[in-house]
């Protein structure tokens, strides 16, 4: 781990996502203040911080979900594979096919399990025929670690699953479009510990294929699943480093206070 960290510092590999000087305003409220972040490919990056610190806001900048909020204004530069995603030529719809998202509350469509997963590939035209679509759905459900539980009832409504299953279905739905980056906004906050453990295990698997960015309230979770951790406080990125470094030897006193439970 230490070697890897040194490698990161000494010889910066081209990052998957690189953000510099990002400012976000909600009306007059300055929610994100001058944030610079580099996110590597095929790693899990955790954003931690107290409520209202801007970590979710920043996450939603990466696939431009903030565009749907009228009063929200984003400044600065966010690049994925070197391309500015806020360039006027970028269509957010195309961007979101590349950057998938899993939300805090499981939100399957009120359709069948199959249709939930097949929807993304369908609208992006990823399958030429039914057989290919079946295959995509199966692969996605397997990657979502839910295939064995639902393979016999793909026509059942997705909303009829348990909370943990719904969240894994949502993850399967997100990976079905073959994104390159997967954003997760507190994916386990509505789940019980067993479901949480299953999702965490899944996140570790997903790292093989995607760059995962996860926002979490649980520091234990960040420590368990992530390789890199960023600590946000009052809209500032206080510190970003390897996860074990953040939790064992933080540089900033605020980080230290937060992880030891004094602020939050």
């Amino acid at each position: 781990m230490k070697d890897q960290a040194e490698m990161d510092n000494s010889m910066p590999t081209p990052s998957k996502i690189s953000a510099s000087g990002v400012q976000v305003y909600y009306g007059d409220n300055h929610a994100i203040k001058d944030v610079n972040v580099e996110i590597a490919d095929k790693t899990v990056t955790a954003f931690i911080g107290p409520s209202g610190c801007g970590k979710s806001t920043f996450l939603r900048c990466i696939n431009r979900m903030n565009d749907t909020i009228d009063v929200c204004r984003v400044e600065g530069d966010i690049r994925i594979d070197g391309e500015d995603i806020y360039d006027p030529k970028v269509d957010p719809v195309q961007l979101r096919a590349k950057v998938g998202m899993v939300f805090q509350k499981p939100n399957p469509f009120p359709k069948s399990i199959y249709d939930n997963v097949a929807y993304g590939p369908k609208i992006h035209g990823l399958a030429r025929d039914k057989a290919e679509l079946d295959e995509i759905v199966e692969t996605a459900l397997r990657r979502g670690a839910i295939w064995d539980e639902v393979k016999d009832r793909l026509d059942a409504p997705g909303t009829g699953l348990s909370g943990g299953q719904q969240q894994r279905l949502c993850i399967a739905r997100a990976v079905a479009t073959e994104p390159e980056v997967l954003l997760m906004d507190e994916p386990c906050s509505a789940l019980d510990p067993i479901a949480t453990a299953q999702v965490e295990e899944l996140i570790d698997d997903l790292r093989q294929r995607f760059s995962v960015v996860i926002v979490t309230h649980s520091m234990q979770q960040a420590a368990r699943v992530s390789q890199r951790t960023a600590f946000f406080h009052l809209g500032n990125l206080v510190e970003m480093d390897d996860t074990d470094k953040i939790f064992t030897n933080p540089r900033d006193p605020r980080t230290e206070s937060y992880i030891s439970g004094r602020i939050g």
């Binding site: 979900m65 719809v93 469509f109 009120p110 929807y119 993304g120 609208i123 909303t159 479009t177």
Partner: protein, 441 residues
């Protein structure tokens, strides 16, 4: 022990609790009283409508044998309907009179009334009905046919209890003696009161012949208007709502539009009538009394209702569904049409049907665009029918309550029942559709 002393025993109510409980039971009593009062009022309303109006669905008919002599009806002998049409309804009246006298004689009913007075048993509509039958089938000429004719409104009223011997004595249109003849005919089975489809299918009739007045033109007119309203208000309303709810920028123009849509829903309907008169008839030159114009006016009136309910339905779709769709890379329009709209559909349908039901019962704007006219001709079946003169159900009710003959009051109540049945049916449809399309999320 210390708890005991501070709070007293739990087994006895303290003064404050007693006061609160009393206030609560008082409030429940007020609420219950209000509910009972409304149910009673509704019950009385329905009872009065039903008791007054059910009679309109029954009608008294008299069956007589009528000789159709060739020398009166078809002197040429060619049985050509066009030639025979020269004989007007007046030519058929003596035939009916003679047939009636003959029928009475055959039945052994004796009366000192003149043949002309006896003709008062039969509707003034009867000669026209006979003529219509003969022209449709000229071969009947020369034969004696048995025909069921509408009884006069007074006679009909006698069998329904509206006209009595005492009231007939004061009535110049009938007399107790005639009623006695009618009673004898009924005893012989020649005069019967039975269900009357004509009430639902026939056009309106003049003041003198309430017994033949029906709702046919009004129902057809209302149907045409509903088609216009549905075809215009639903797509316009849903499109406007989707734009305002999902796409419109959040600025003062949008706010202004929103406020004004709410205001429009509260504008008195007669104002829409004046608007329709000014724009559709005076400016655009569309015909008066046409279901097309009525439908356009009612569309204007229904739009705010549909927009408001559609927006409420769209708003009630959880934002997480939109996020989910956008998150997998759906465009805004795909997220609306694939996910939000299907979930909002039950609410939209309910709102639309309620709007339609409102439009179906609306009278005031139709008065101003001339749909209150006396219309005896059915509008064409088909696209031309939308510009033919017609009336509408509520206007027909209004019309009939203006007529002098009490038989029209019965018909007005009957029309109210018909209108209520249509509304009930539409509301049931709304409930059914909501149940069918409702999906939980």
């Amino acid at each position: 022990m210390s708890y005991q002393s501070r709070h007293g025993s739990l087994l006895t109510e303290d003064a404050r609790t007693r006061k609160r409980n009393r206030a609560e039971s008082r409030f429940k009593a007020y609420g219950l009283t209000a509910v009972i009062a409304s149910v009673l009022a509704l019950f009385m309303l329905l009872a009065s409508i039903l008791s007054n109006g059910l009679g309109a669905f029954q009608q008294t008919f008299v069956t007589i044998n009528i000789a159709l002599p060739e020398d009166k009806l078809d002197k040429s002998g060619v049985r050509d309907p066009e030639v025979m049409a020269k004989v007007s309804t007046f030519g058929y009246t003596p035939l009916i009179r003679d047939g009636l006298v003959q029928t009475l004689a055959n039945a052994g009913i004796e009366t000192d009334q003149s043949a002309k007075a006896l003709l008062g048993l039969i509707s003034k509509e009867a000669p026209a009905a006979l003529r219509y039958r003969v022209l449709a089938n000229p071969d009947l000429v020369g034969q004696t046919v048995s025909m069921e004719l509408l009884a006069n409104g007074r006679i009909d009223g006698f069998f329904k209890g509206r006209v009595t011997m005492e009231s007939a004595a004061l009535d110049k249109n009938t007399s107790p003696e005639i009623l006695q003849v009618a009673q004898q005919l009924a005893d012989d089975g020649l005069m019967t009161t039975r269900f009357n489809w004509g009430f639902l299918t026939k056009p309106d009739a003049s003041d003198q012949r309430p017994e033949s007045a029906g709702l046919g033109v009004a129902i057809l007119g209302s149907l045409y208007m509903m088609i216009v309203v549905l075809a215009l208000a639903l797509p316009l309303g849903v499109a406007a709502s989707i734009y305002l709810e999902e796409f419109a920028p959040n600025n003062w123009i949008t706010d202004l539009i929103e406020v004004n849509i709410s205001n429009l829903a509260a504008v008195p309907s007669i104002v829409y009538g004046i608007l329709g008169l000014a724009i559709f008839i005076n400016f655009a030159g569309l015909p008066q009394s046409a279901p097309l114009v009525g439908g356009l006016v009612l569309t204007l009136m229904t739009l705010p209702t549909i927009i408001i309910s559609t927006r409420a339905a769209l708003k009630s779709v959880p934002p997480s569904i939109r996020d989910a769709a956008l998150g997998v890379g759906a465009s805004k329009m795909q997220s609306v049409f694939h996910h939000v709209l299907p979930l909002a559909a039950p609410g939209i349908l309910t709102g639309t049907i309620i709007g339609l039901a409102q439009a179906l019962g609306e009278t005031a704007p139709l008065l101003l665009i001339g749909m209150v006219a006396f219309v005896k001709e059915y509008p064409e079946i088909g696209i031309e029918g939308f510009t033919d003169p017609a009336t509408a159900l509520p206007v027909q009710i209004f019309n009939w309550t203006q007529r002098a003959d009490p038989a029209f009051v019965e018909r007005a109540f009957g029309a109210i029942i018909t209108l209520l049945v249509f509304l009930l049916f539409m509301n049931l449809l709304a409930i059914f559709l909501r149940r069918k399309f409702e999906r939980r999320w």
